[in-house]
């Protein structure tokens, strides 16, 4: 009797209803604000001050999008953001994969210390480092370039990515790496051809972290790249504001345009990178 009850419960837990509920919770939680922005982007400004508030736009309009593209060079912002984020993600992944491998696999004497230093780096609030960083960038003659942002963003994401990857690499059976070395790989070869692909979920996560960190950052982007042609999206979107005015619908439209590429990227990557993983490599 009790087992029957337990098993019904269990089925409920593993079965379709749970999955449906789970999906509902996840999607509402995650997408609601984004959805709200999407809806807003089709509303007129007047509709926003209606009471009671409206959920669906009364008279959906694309005007906000047209305005978003015509008022500011939105595509330029997008392109800059994209390139900066992409470059810094690539650099972050490269550097942190190497560092994480060292931390995970080599029996370093000062492992704890190195970890602490890496973490310490991320504990200084960015605002307070702004001016000296600006001076550094000026000294390196990097102001007004993608590099001016790529480098600091890389540093910004490096600690978290390194630690995430370290904990992943520790979970990869060493024999897989051994097999690769026997098969003729150097340690680097084994790292990039076996360890990294096998930590795909971790690398993917680290990549997303780095990408989004770069995609979102505002303060440095504002200060280091004053050239309008080099503005990134977060800085660019602020330009839709007036000195006092905050045109939600247009800004929403710009935000939607900003989120969509990230979303597409996420979807593509998650299908490609994360799915292929299977078990069955080693006994143990």
């Amino acid at each position: 009797m009790s087992t029957a009850v337990a098993s019904t419960f269990d089925q409920a837990l593993s079965g379709k209803p749970l999955r449906a509920i789970a999906a509902f919770i996840l999607i509402v939680n995650g997408l609601f604000p984004a959805l709200w922005i999407l809806l807003t982007s089709f509303k007129t400004e007047a509709e926003l001050t209606q009471k009671p508030i409206t959920w669906l736009p009364h008279a959906a309009t694309l005007r906000n999008y047209i305005q978003a593209f015509s008022d500011q060079p939105l595509l330029t912002f997008l392109f800059n953001s994209f390139m900066v984020a992409l470059l810094s993600t690539a650099l972050t992944l490269l550097v942190s994969v190497l560092a994480a491998y060292a931390l995970a696999r080599l029996n370093l004497r000062f492992r704890g210390l190195i970890m602490s230093v890496i973490i310490a780096v991320s504990t200084f609030p960015l605002v307070t480092l702004l001016v000296p960083l600006f001076e550094t960038m000026r000294a390196l003659n990097l102001l007004n370039s993608w590099t001016a942002l790529v480098l600091p963003y890389t540093v910004l994401s490096l600690p978290v990515c390194t630690l995430v990857l370290t904990s992943f690499f520790e979970g990869i059976p060493r024999d897989l790496e051994n097999a690769a070395m026997i098969d003729g790989c150097t340690r680097f070869g084994a790292l990039f051809r076996v360890v990294v692909p096998l930590s795909a979920p971790g690398v993917f996560t680290a990549g997303i972290l780095a990408f989004v960190n770069a995609w979102d950052e505002f303060l440095l982007a504002l200060s280091f790249n004053s050239n309008p042609g080099l503005r990134t999206l977060p800085v660019g979107i602020q330009l839709y504001q007036g000195e006092f005015a905050f045109p939600w619908p247009v800004i929403s439209a710009a935000l939607v345009v900003g989120i969509v590429p990230v979303a597409i990227l996420i979807v593509i990557f998650q299908e490609r990178v994360v799915s292929g993983l299977t078990t069955g490599g080693v006994k143990g």
Binding site: D175, L176, N178, M181, D183, G276, T278, T279, G280, K283
Partner: protein
């Protein structure tokens, strides 16, 4: 192809010495089989030869190079791992082709080699699956295939056939033998299978707790075990051991059974010697009632194997096992008289447990 020589090779994990200063010279093209109880250091030794395990002392040479500090890929070896270590993210084909690809082999050529190896191992239809979609034995064959697509200087096989059925194992064994005969690569092979060890090996190395207990040809190891340990370890079912005394030209067992000393294998025991001995008798050397030299006992357990019947019985306080023809099926409790050829009896010193010359 190259010789492999281990000189005072050591490995410790912390204070625990897993491999204790072993010396082993493997000649170019030789097929050496490592056997020994679970945990005695066989895999560790292979892994040190491969360069996967830092050695704690001694020296390893492959050919005339000391390879102590050489990374695995420069040692030009191929290895089958005991735990397979297949790349879970690659298909069987990619798993097998990986070493070729890394070494920049021609693609068509590589494909041929993969096809050949897969055919030999009967996994051609699995080439596009991933390890997670294979059965245990199939995985093991993939691991095997991954090693043999290459033509390295040395093959290291760590129980490569343990998950295969007898028939397939026989086939693959034959293929390995053929492979070895054709290309003559040096092979170090770990196995628990008596048949594999006996049929494949040029020499068998018996390890025990990190030490080498005996090195010899299969024949030497089987017929002239250097110690009780080797006698007991090589051969299945194991050699039987019983304590006995020499008295007045006889071997006396505690329960009154006795065997005449004359004719005992290489027995340089003078009739006058009166001493304790350990007597070793292989199960297959018992014969039902056909010799005048014999032991009387009672059947304890009977295990019919189809091809043989194993009969367990007690002599001198020890339980012995005889391998008898399958048509003999004594019942438990029955009295039994078993004969044996005195020349086939092994004698060991009870203190050192080493064979008496």
């Amino acid at each position: 192809m190259a010789s492999v020589s281990l000189r005072k090779l050591e490995k410790s994990y912390g204070a625990f010495r897993v491999v204790k200063a072993i010396d082993l010279e493997i000649m170019d093209g030789e097929f050496v089989v490592l056997v020994g109880p679970s945990g005695c250091g066989k895999s560790t030794t292979l892994r040190m030869i491969a360069g996967l395990e830092r050695i704690s002392g001694g020296e390893i040479r492959i050919g005339d190079r000391v390879v102590n500090d050489l990374p695995p890929r420069e040692r030009d070896i191929a290895m089958v791992f005991q735990d397979y270590a297949l790349y879970p993210h690659k298909t069987v084909r990619q798993n097998m082709g990986f070493s070729l690809k890394v070494r920049g082999a021609n693609a068509a050529d590589a494909d041929n080699k993969i096809r050949d190896a897969a055919e030999m191992l009967g996994i051609t239809h699995l080439l596009d699956r991933r390890p997670g979609q294979l059965s245990g034995g199939q995985r093991q064959r993939v691991a095997m295939g991954r090693a043999i697509v290459r033509r390295p200087q040395v093959f290291l096989f760590d129980e490569p056939l343990s998950n295969l059925d007898a028939k397939l194992r026989g086939q693959v064994r034959t293929e390995i033998k053929r492979l070895h005969q054709t290309i003559g690569t040096t092979i170090v092979y770990v196995t628990h299978d008596q048949v594999e060890a006996m049929t494949l090996a040029d020499r068998i190395v018996i390890l025990r707790g990190g030490d080498i207990e005996q090195i010899g040809t299969p024949d030497q190891v089987y017929n002239h075990p250097a110690s009780v340990f080797v006698g007991g370890f090589v051969g299945a079912p194991s050699m039987n051991f019983a304590k006995a005394r020499t008295t007045q030209g006889y071997l006396d067992f505690a329960d009154g059974n006795r065997l005449p000393l004359a004719g005992l294998a290489g027995a340089k025991l003078s009739v006058a010697d009166e001493r304790e001995l350990i007597v070793g008798i292989r199960p297959e050397h018992f014969m039902p009632l056909r010799s005048d030299v014999g032991l009387n006992s009672q059947v304890q357990v009977v295990e019919p194997l189809g091809s043989d019947t194993l009969v367990h019985f007690a002599v001198g306080g020890a339980t012995l096992t005889a391998r008898l023809p399958p048509e003999l099926r004594p019942k438990a409790g029955e009295a039994i008289k078993l004969g044996l050829d005195p020349a086939k009896i092994h004698l060991f010193d009870p203190e050192t447990e080493r064979a008496l010359q």
